[in-house]
Symmetry: C2
Subunit: 115 residues, 2 copies
Amino acid sequence: MKSVGRHMILELWQCENLNSIDIVERALRDIVRACDLTLLDLRVYPFSPVGVTGVAVVSESHVMVHTWPELGYAAVDIFTCGEERNPADAVPLLREYFTPGRIQVMEMTRGIIDD
Amino acid sequence: MKSVGRHMILELWQCENLNSIDIVERALRDIVRACDLTLLDLRVYPFSPVGVTGVAVVSESHVMVHTWPELGYAAVDIFTCGEERNPADAVPLLREYFTPGRIQVMEMTRGIIDD
């Protein structure tokens, strides 16, 4: 069956660098490049007292990062459309930037077309 | 077990108004209000030839809409943290704005804390 896109959902634990807006922005830029996505907009929002949200809006959908430094946890979503795109290409970069001790990865197929 | 948030994933089919940046923006604003979220930023991006992406960044995470008017399909994600928030409060508004003939709803618990 055809589908619209792939939505990778990642849970990162025991992470570092979760309160750095610079690292979150660099991670998003590198993920966009590694997944061969077309960047439309990239914004990073710091939270008080800690935490960062970063979003890259791309032609192929989005990449989103929310961090909870106090828990060592980051929620990451990578939604790509186009069959030649593979959100799994982001995983080595997430390991590099946030050095998670544990990653859980799920992938959902979005927009399954029942012909 | 405690967790960080609730991530509702919705697949909307047989929709109307999917190419309207105005409707997508109004839907996002009303969802933010209905779910008692704190809006930090709201942006809507039109695509060529058709399609809209809308994102509301909120203190409690995000609301994201991607539309494919040519398929009558919209992918919606509502990620909320804080136990008093209920992303299901968005569903009546999605029905009102996009009049889907069919909705599939899933909910994932994000950031489950294994004490």
